[in-house]
């Protein structure tokens, strides 16, 4: 669906993109992760045809973005990170305007779908909450039935409820066959929502894969927390196991590469000492851990 090859872009003497390459498959949610200033927005603005680049190729459905930006706009729906409409324009008028420029009939159904119908239909843009504005922009981006949706920080500034609602809608769109490219610095959002993740670091894609592939291939160890009734893990431990710490709540904390293997050793030991497990928690390496390790940080 999308092929980005050796994308390079400089701002003055600062080279932000140093050869970004990635592919997005039809019908997947692809998350482009990166810290602030990593070049996520630059990358997707190049893809949208809103920004020029110095070197490289971008193709959407085999069409060159550089050569046919107008053709691309028909395939593409875009929700920008920082966007607005005229203060006194209503949701209905905004939809009428966008549909008119896309030469499609009015899409009231989209406003209904994003809960922007009824009382919100004639509310002015300035009177809408941040969440409603996001929903409206998403509905507007979809008015011409694009096959590819590009979202830049789609849930920035939203509360938990607004985020969840938007996540549901994004999944629903994916299920309907829309390919979604999303730039975000929200690691949890990328992990729960996306099918494929690319981490942008130092102007290149530093790591990529499905969330499961990324966490499985990581060297970062999982943390296993075990609490037992008689505290049998306080002093005596199975041979070869080393405890990291005991928390004030009485949990014994272990670090390991394979949690299942650790538990196979640990549980018989606990039983053998006539003890029982009262609580067990496994904290596996998250995308945030992977991101921090890629970024050179530590968690």
């Amino acid at each position: 669906m999308i092929k980005v090859n050796n994308l390079q872009r400089s701002y003055g003497s600062k080279q932000v993109l140093k050869g970004v390459s990635f592919s997005v498959n039809q019908g997947e949610i692809f998350a482009l992760l990166g810290a602030n200033g990593a070049g996520k927005t630059t990358t997707i603005e190049c893809l949208e045809g809103l920004r020029k680049w110095n070197v490289g190729e971008i193709e959407v459905e085999g069409v060159s973005v550089a050569k046919s930006p107008d053709k691309i706009r028909k395939i593409l729906g875009i929700q920008l990170q920082s966007t607005a409409l005229a203060d006194n324009m209503t949701a209905k008028e905004a939809m009428q305007l966008f549909c008119a420029w896309h030469s499609v009939t009015y899409r009231g159904d989209l406003l209904e779908r994003f809960d922007m119908g009824g009382e919100y239909l004639n509310k002015t843009y300035v009177s809408l909450s941040t969440g409603r504005k996001r929903r409206l922009h998403l509905a507007l981006a979809l008015c011409h039935r694009p096959r590819l949706l590009v979202l830049d920080e789609p849930t920035a500034g939203l509360d938990v409820e607004g985020r969840n609602t938007l996540h549901q809608e994004i999944r629903r769109l994916r299920d309907e066959g829309v390919t979604i490219l999303m730039a975000t610095h929200d690691m949890a959002e990328a992990e729960t929502l996306s099918d494929y993740i690319a981490i942008l670091r130092g102007g290149v894609i530093a790591r990529e894969g499905t969330p499961m592939e990324l966490t499985a291939a990581s060297d970062i160890q999982s943390r296993v927390l075990v609490k037992t009734r008689n505290d049998s893990l306080r002093e005596i431990l199975p041979h070869g196991l080393e405890k990291l710490e005991t928390t004030p709540e009485g949990y014994s904390v272990f670090k390991c590469k394979d949690a299942a293997e650790l538990l196979l050793t640990l549980l018989p030991h606990i039983q053998k000492h006539g003890d029982t497990v009262t609580d067990l928690r496994v904290a596996r390496a998250s995308i945030e851990d992977i991101f921090l390790s890629v970024a050179g940080g530590a968690k």
Binding site: E45, K52, A86, L140, A141
Partner: protein, 239 residues
């Protein structure tokens, strides 16, 4: 074309909900008209230019320099222009729609002033109303293209509020709207000559329509339009 007409319709409706626009385009000019008309009638003043014409020039200058550029700078500053571009709405549609709608508001005010002045302030109707309205339209377009040009050089609305006064105040003071321009010191008269309102005042005096200022206004409109369109295009196309 159909899409542009939809944009015009929606922008007019949206403008009518905007108290700021109603204030700049209608309320202030009409209040100024009422006050100035009363003063001139009471004092039996004669500035050499029909009252309805000078007040109309005040109204259109206010709209062109204080109202219209604000809308364009705001659209760039807040991301409205980016949203339009992302949706494939051409960048030219915004300034063009703003100029067309601003002209629409100005012409309504011009008509209100034109037809009420004879009843309220015993001002005479122009001999040729069609020609009069054409002259107003030309001055409005020239002033608005100058306002659009101004909006290309200023990035922030706050700065624009100050900078636009550099056009509006000389227009009021040097063009002959308030008092005859020939009473001003020569340097001020020279400055005044480069303003659309001054050429408008030269063009349409009580003696009738004059061709030379009309040609100057046309030339100014074309130059302002060409330069502002080119600059706006450059600004809206990201590097």
């Amino acid at each position: 074309m159909k899409a542009f007409l939809v944009q015009l319709r929606i922008q007019v409706k949206s403008d009518l909900r905007d108290k700021g626009i109603l204030m700049v385009y209608y309320l202030v000019p009409l209040v100024f008209y009422a006050v100035m008309g009363s003063i001139m009638k009471t004092l039996e003043m004669d500035s050499g230019t029909p009252l309805n014409f000078s007040i109309t020039i005040f109204a259109l200058s206010m709209s062109a320099f204080l109202g219209m550029p604000q809308a364009l700078v705001k659209a760039r500053e807040t991301g409205i222009l980016d949203a339009y571009k992302a949706a494939g709405i051409p960048a030219w549609s915004m300034p063009l729609a703003t100029i067309v709608i601003s002209t629409f508001h100005i012409m309504i005010v011009a008509l209100v002033i034109l037809f009420s002045a004879p009843y309220l302030f015993a001002s005479e109707l122009p001999g040729n109303i069609g020609l009069y309205l054409l002259a107003v339209l030309l001055i409005a377009l020239c002033s608005e293209t100058l306002g659009a040009l101004l909006s290309c050089f200023v990035k922030k609305q706050n700065t624009l509020t100050l900078v636009s006064q550099c056009l509006f105040l000389p227009t009021i003071m040097f063009s002959g709207i308030m008092f005859p321009a020939n009473l001003l010191p020569k340097p001020m008269q020279w400055i005044g000559e480069i303003l659309p309102a001054t050429q408008g005042m030269h063009m349409f005096s009580q003696a009738g329509l004059h061709m030379q200022p009309l040609i100057i206004l046309c030339a100014m409109t074309i130059v302002f339009f060409a330069v502002s369109a080119s600059l706006f295009r450059r600004i809206s196309a990201r590097k």
